[in-house]
């Protein structure tokens, strides 16, 4: 736990993780519910953004709802080939993130493409360039996204 967070900052994080108002003076409104002034709230958010305690302050977009085709993909790569396959996969701009995981399915990456056609093409390209199968695991249903940490 970060000891530098005082009670007010903890309160700000615990409260504003859940939402922030849309109105003419949203900081004033949020500050009132936190029992601080508007300028203090703005200053504290600014400091926490700068120090990295907050990675973001603002709208969280759902990329899928904006259009485009996304998928989580897995590959099973022998350890001696892992680095060269990772280089080929990472070279594609459609690969947004890629993680090595401790499992036979050891490479997990997210594909972000603009259309279902582009997604299929990218999957085929990866299989062709690497010689290994891509297990395409698009989400069929989303039950929850979000992480609310009480501090």
């Amino acid at each position: 736990m970060d000891e530098s967070l005082d009670e007010i900052n903890r309160n700000i994080i615990n409260t504003l993780q859940y939402g922030f108002p849309i109105c003419d003076h949203p900081f004033r409104e949020a500050a009132a519910s936190l029992n601080i002034t508007e300028s203090e709230l703005l200053e504290r958010i600014r400091v926490m953004r700068e120090s990295g305690i907050l990675t973001r302050f603002g709208p969280l977009f759902n990329a899928e709802e904006m259009g485009g085709a996304f998928s989580l993909c897995a590959m099973k790569i022998p350890s001696e080939k892992f680095d060269s396959v990772a280089d080929k996969v990472n070279a594609l701009p459609q690969v947004a993130h890629n993680y090595q995981r401790d499992h036979a399915m050891n490479m997990w990456f997210v594909l972000a493409t603009e259309s279902p056609e582009e997604k299929l093409e990218t999957l085929k390209k990866i299989e062709l360039q690497t010689g290994y199968r891509v297990y395409d695991m698009p989400k069929e249903k989303e039950y929850f996204v979000g992480l609310y940490l009480k501090v």
């Binding site: 970060d2 109105c23 958010i45 953004r49 990675t55 977009f61 940490l149």
Partner: protein, 158 residues
């Protein structure tokens, strides 16, 4: 500017965050040359239709001590996956919960839940709690820890 263009401009103007000024929506409106009320209306609409999940402060979970996370994957009966997925999604330590396709026989798992904790033991303890909760619906599970970030560009809208 039509609605779709305006929405796109709002995404571009706010993807780095909301301006930290007393009247952030007014500032965005001035930048885009439209009325503040229109910006507020479009952002409410995007919240309602799900393009914006929420407007919020996002703490850095690493800095808050939550440095361990494991991707738990579960084989549960298809007829119960929705009910169980909803249930796991309400757990405070689960950040993402999805149904995904199986690849039998090598990949029997249809329910994914990302579990967070301050260390691996804590993550494993939470996974045990999920297993207890699922009871006989848990027909097999595994936890995959990440060992290396190979690429992380994040998503940027253009």
């Amino acid at each position: 500017m039509n609605t779709a263009d305006l929405d796109h401009q709002i995404v571009l103007a706010t993807q780095a965050g909301l301006p930290l000024v007393p009247q952030p929506y007014q500032l965005i409106a001035e930048q885009l040359g439209v009325e503040t009320s229109l910006i507020q209306e479009r952002m409410r609409q995007m919240l309602e239709d799900g393009r914006i999940r929420r407007i919020a402060a996002v703490p850095n979970h690493y800095k808050l001590g939550y440095v361990a996370n494991g991707m738990s994957v579960w084989n549960v009966p298809d007829e119960r996956v929705d009910q169980l997925g909803e249930q796991l999604g309400t757990l405070e330590y689960v950040s993402h919960c999805y149904r995904r396709p199986r690849y039998l026989p090598e990949w029997p798992y249809n329910l994914f839940a990302m579990v967070h904790g301050t260390n691996r033991n804590e993550v494993m303890e939470k996974v045990r709690r999920i297993a207890l909760l699922l009871d006989e619906a848990d027909q097999g599970h595994e936890v995959l820890f990440s060992t290396k970030i190979l690429k992380k560009t994040g998503m940027r809208f253009k």
